[in-house]
Every structure is written in structure tokens, then in C-alpha cells.
Symmetry: C2
Subunit: 327 residues, 2 copies
Amino acid sequence: MTTIKKIAELANVSTATVSKIINGKDQYISEATRQKVLEIVEREGYIPNGVAKSLKMRRTKTIGIILPDVMNLFFSELARGAEDAAEKEGYSVILCNTDNKELKEEKYLNILHEKMVDGIIMTAAEGSMNKSVKISKTPMVLVDRDIELDKPVGRITVNNEEGAFMATKFLIEKGCKNIGFISSQKKNKPSAERLKGYRRALKENGLEVDEKKIFLQNFTIASGYEGVMALLERNKVDGIFCGNDLIAIGAIQALKENNLKVPKDVKVIGFDDISMSQFMDPPLTTIKQPIYQLGEEAVKMLVAIIGKKDIDMHKVLRTELIERGSC
Amino acid sequence: MTTIKKIAELANVSTATVSKIINGKDQYISEATRQKVLEIVEREGYIPNGVAKSLKMRRTKTIGIILPDVMNLFFSELARGAEDAAEKEGYSVILCNTDNKELKEEKYLNILHEKMVDGIIMTAAEGSMNKSVKISKTPMVLVDRDIELDKPVGRITVNNEEGAFMATKFLIEKGCKNIGFISSQKKNKPSAERLKGYRRALKENGLEVDEKKIFLQNFTIASGYEGVMALLERNKVDGIFCGNDLIAIGAIQALKENNLKVPKDVKVIGFDDISMSQFMDPPLTTIKQPIYQLGEEAVKMLVAIIGKKDIDMHKVLRTELIERGSC
């Protein structure tokens, strides 16, 4: 491999001079010397330190993060937690958005493999049980969505079922008798777990589970809006547990359009505590996930796996109820 | 460089077998063969196609995106636009958050240079006029913030001064006589340009520019909140032009806490049209920037520069007024 030393010898200058020119800090170097050195760099195919080092160590100090959509506030916070932790550990982060599409997920897994990333953090596409995941040898940590896989991977999740139980119980304590549930589909594992918690809270408090009060679509504002429209058509509800805060935002909008006051007529509770939830009107009562920390912990676990440390491969973080104005 | 062919020869198997094992698609291959091939791969230091290709071509098919904070909805949308466009062009994106700190910006520029990225998209830290930017030879496109640099770089901006003029004029047309301006500091160039547009609209409409009605701090919700508190202490305002939507969100919150109704008592207009603005109460009237498109166009321009195409190095996108409920 062409080194700075070799280029310096060929150009008959010092290694310091070559280094300055390569790094562009060449304001005090004559144009003739600069041209000569750059020609030799070009001819000999010099490779900068970072790449040379990673070839030698077989470490690129790069990790990939695969998530549905960085424009979703949940994932932008998660990505930020991951990038901050990665920077502290000396890693760079390649960002990949799948829009929950398995084909895009598979494409990105292949690209990251080709780029020799040292590890991958992934929130799998809904319902994904991706073959590439099974076969990739790259260390991996799943975050948020705990899908079933053959190979050993790290997992960082929250206690979704418990959080959902807490949310539903809170609505019951606030006097709600007809509680709806709007969330993503069951193939999304956190959504399925939150549905379980909702059912359990109703049953344990002597309330009937009415399938007509359950609307499962996507973790989006639009689904919250459509969910309320659908629920109102077939039921009376006095409380809604929303599977995430985006759904709650859409739900509140639809309730307002139907002249229903939140929290007077209908109480609404969300899940996640994304950064915008406190600025809604009314400010959203919600189950807080430690989103930033999920990203941070995912990187820490991944770096431990890359370093072949003996660690617990599944970490469950806790949720907590944040009471604001919507219940 | 060790090739699949060489490994196949050493292991006395076909290249197809080696390829299957390297890519993990080895469910029909005997464990003995698998072990033998992997040992040779390890010993010979085989490098996957992606990395081998990038060394040969001196192209990594990777670009870096440096921005203040991906948790800020403006930048998450910009990053998403960039990543989508990059994926279409066959590039991966390394994400870097600077928190507007020049030191972090400089660190990331060096890391991206070490990693041999093919190009960099950057929203510079506020007030940054970074030496590393001047000297880096890597193709670069500045987006959103148009800082002064010695080297030729691409630039994608919007017509900030015109957008701010439009916003302020709209408040005047709605009957406002005492219009405040809350924004980031002047060292942030878009903020300085929006201040110019605000001043020009007041002057052209026979209104006085009152420095006591101008509050410059940061492009954050907190600054919007503090800005209103400060303005109310020293003035009567009936309209506020906010330098971005986050500021408008904080401003509306503070107005509500002071028992002022939006838009009845005070009209508020923002800038950006981030995805949450339509869900505020009242829904925010704002000057829309084509944020996603800024990211897309930045990648397209960067790819053209990398490909040494002859293009216009400065593209200005247009803003437009979105009328909702806050004026």
C-alpha cells in the first residue's frame, strides 16, 4: 500500500510536507511542490489513513442503522441517541430508511454487508422475518421490535405490555367505561404487546373487551384520525388508548372535528412521549419510552458484541406514565 | 488482493461455493467445507466486493451529511430527502449531528475525509466559517445556510428574504400594527435574511421598525417561549413573525399562558412548514420551505459535482405562504 513515506521519497520532500498537502493545509507550500506531490499521490493511488487502517484491522469503525423513517419523531430521537453514542465510541453511522418495506430492508442489509460495517442496529420492518438477517454474519442489535431470528442478536426493547396496561388502567381510574384502542397491526410486535396490555387491564377491572372498539392500522397520524372516525361510527367511547403519540395527535384532531372535547368528552392517552407531545393542545398524557436511551443502549450493546464481550443479549427498558392535559 | 477465485483454488472448491459461504447462503453446504473456506478467508484477508471495488475505483459510494440535529423536524425531513435521493443514485449516507458546534463540525469533516466519502452535504454550524471546509478537497454542497468559503462548493438555499417579506406583509394585511419578530441570531444567515425581509415589509408599508420588538436567540421552541415573555414585558404586540415553526410553537404556548388568544388577540406566522405545524392548535400559518426537496436537490447537485458535470453551483428554491388558523 502506498504510504506517505513512499510519496515523500518519490517527491523528494519531507513526510510532513506530503501530509500537509494531502490534508489541504498547504497555504505555505509552493504551487510547484504541491502539483508534484499531488501527481505522485494520484499515480501511486495513495489511500488515507482511515481506510488503510480499516483494511489492516478488518474494522471500518462504521455501523449501519436501519429504521422505518427518520422523519418519524420516534426514530429521529432514536437515531440521534445512537449517533451520539457511536460518536463517543469512535464509530460513524450509516442511516437507512426502509418505510417498513422488507425489500428495502433486504437491500440495505446487503449494502451494509458490502461496505463491511462492523455492526448493524435495526428496527425491523413490520412483519419482517428477513432471511438476510438470519444469514448475515455481521453483529446486530434489534431495537424496539423484537422479531424472531435463528441467529443470536442483541435486543433492546421496552416493557410494552406493562406500559399499555398502565395506560388503560389510568383511563379506567379516570372514570372511562368505554375505552377504544387505536394502534398498528398485530404483525408489529410492540403493537401486539400493547393490545395484550389493553385487554388485560380491561379484564382485570371487570370491563368487557369489545372488538368493535379496536382499530388496528398503522403507527401514523392518519391512522389516528381514521381510527376515531371508524370508532365513532360504530360506538360510543369516552376514552381512547392510542398505540403511539402520532396516533393520539390524529385522534385528537378527529375528535375536535366531531365537536368532542378532550379530555371532557373523551380522554386520550398516547405511547412514546415524542418531543412534540408536550406542545399539543391539550398537552398529551402518554406512556414515556426512553427513546433516546434506546438508541444509546443499542450502540453500547453492539459495540460490546463487536468486542466479543460477554454480555446479557436482551435489555428491557422501563416505561413511565407522564400525566399532562389529555385525560 | 485476495479474490474469491484465489480462495476457491486454495480450498479446492468452486467459486460459487466460496461466494455462498461468504454471503452466508450456505444452508446446503457441508460444515467441513464451510469451516475450511472460512479459515482460508480469515487467513488470506479476503475483502468483500464493495470495499475492493471502492479501493480500485477510489470511490466509496458514500456521502456524509453534516447537520445541527436530526431530532429537529426540519433536519430530519432534509436528511430523509437526502437519503432517499442518495439511495436512488446508489450512495449510502453517513449521518453527523453537530449541535451547531464548530468543534464537532470540524471533527466530523476530518472523520468523513478519513473515510474517503465521495462528497459532503452540510448545513454549517451557526457562525461557522470553518477552516477545514476551506481546505477539504472533497466535493461539497452547502444546504440551508450559505456561508462564505474560499473553495468552490455547491449551494442550495431558499429565498429567505422574500419569504420573510411575504410573512410580514401578510400580518400587515390582516390588520396588525405592532408586529414582533422572534428568530435566531444574525450569525445564522437565514435568520439574518429573514430579519431583512421583516424590516423591508414594515418600511414599505409605512410601519416603524422598533428594535424592542425584535428578539433574536435560537431556532428552538424555548426561544419562542422566552421571546414572547420578553416582548410582552416591554411592548404591546398584535402580530408575531417567527423565524421558524419551532419558535412559533413556543410562542403560541407562551401567549396562551398569558391568556392571549391566537389569532384573535395576537396573530402568529411561522417559517418552514415542518410536518407537525398543521397539527398545532390553532394550525400554524407559515411560510413553507420545500424541506424534503432541499435534501434531494443537495444530493443531485453533489452527485453532479462528483461526476464532474458542468452545472449551476447555486440553486435557490422558492417559499410559499400556507394559510391555516394562526393569523
